[in-house]
Amino acid sequence: MELESLKSIWNELEPLPTPEKDGELILALLQKKSRGPVARMRRNLIRELLLIIVTYIPLILFYLVEFEGRLSAISGLVFLLGLFFCGYYYRKMMLLKEMQCVSCMVRSNLARHVETLKKYTRFYLLAGTLVIPFTAIYCYAILRWKLPQASGIQLYHRLSPAPWWANSIYWLLLLAPLTIAIYYLNAWYINKLYGRHIKKLQELLREMDEE
């Protein structure tokens, strides 16, 4: 079969005109939400952020009001974590916003998609890893300086008779392998979520560029 005859068959593949029916169909579709990957990621982010807000606010209030305010340092920790997550979701949302330009040329859109998705996953990995040592150090500080006040006795020193610098070293020794483990766990999870997608987009881009 010659390619020119393929063209003629292809060009006969026009749908029959039914303007009223199609107009209604298109109008109905305009009211639907996007089900593309970026839109789904954005919706998931908003849901996660709402979940953080709904769970963190009562926690902050609880530790601020209960125990005569002696455990307000925990409120501070939850508040700081909440702020961290707000910044985290904001950055992710901005990256998702610039991820796609569907009306751009296909090649430039693909390049933009790959580049932004890589930034997104790097940020995800970095933030997801740093939050662990940050929380652990803050918890250590609460135990070290706030717990004795809360209990009214030198509980910290009863729990741990070693000098403060020795305890700090123990914490760091525990924290370092934990952070490394979290880093690899995050890297594995992020790769599971986005690895195949990034690889596929990179392959498409390479195919477009090669001569």
């Binding site: 749908p15 107009g23 009306s103 090649r107 998609h113």
Partner: protein
Amino acid sequence: MLYPDLQEAFIPLVNQHRGILHKVCRLYCFTETDRQDLFQEIIVQLWRSYPSFRGDAKFSTWLYRIALNTAISDLRKQRRRITLTDPELLPAELQDIQYSGEKEEQLQLLYKAINKLTEVEKALTMLYLEDKSYQEMEDILGISQNNLRVKMNRIKDKLRKMTKEATYGIGKP
């Protein structure tokens, strides 16, 4: 929120070019459900981008970009891969077209061949079959014309070979 004035201009324009959208869906999806999903996604993306359409490019060029960008970068899991083209699996609106036995066979051969191409090759093949110039292809895809010519020659050879094999049974045991 919907904008009645924009809608009034948008719907007839898209309706006029819906054949292109159905063809893109047919090329990139293997099941009717996937095709409907992709069609919906392309319409949503077109509508979202429509307010920023300034008419610098032709409407069809703009539409091709959005349709192909959506189809190529939306790597949703295909529900079921069907490599043989059954006429009943054609988009609903295209099923009404009556073909002679020979044309039907040729149409099946064409889709069978195209289904074996990569996503990028499918896009190029579609633009070639739509009789687009290399300049228009460059405007849509962002690939240089020299590169397009090289790729197009390779694809034409592939298609020739595949349709020949299917017609005459060359290369089959």
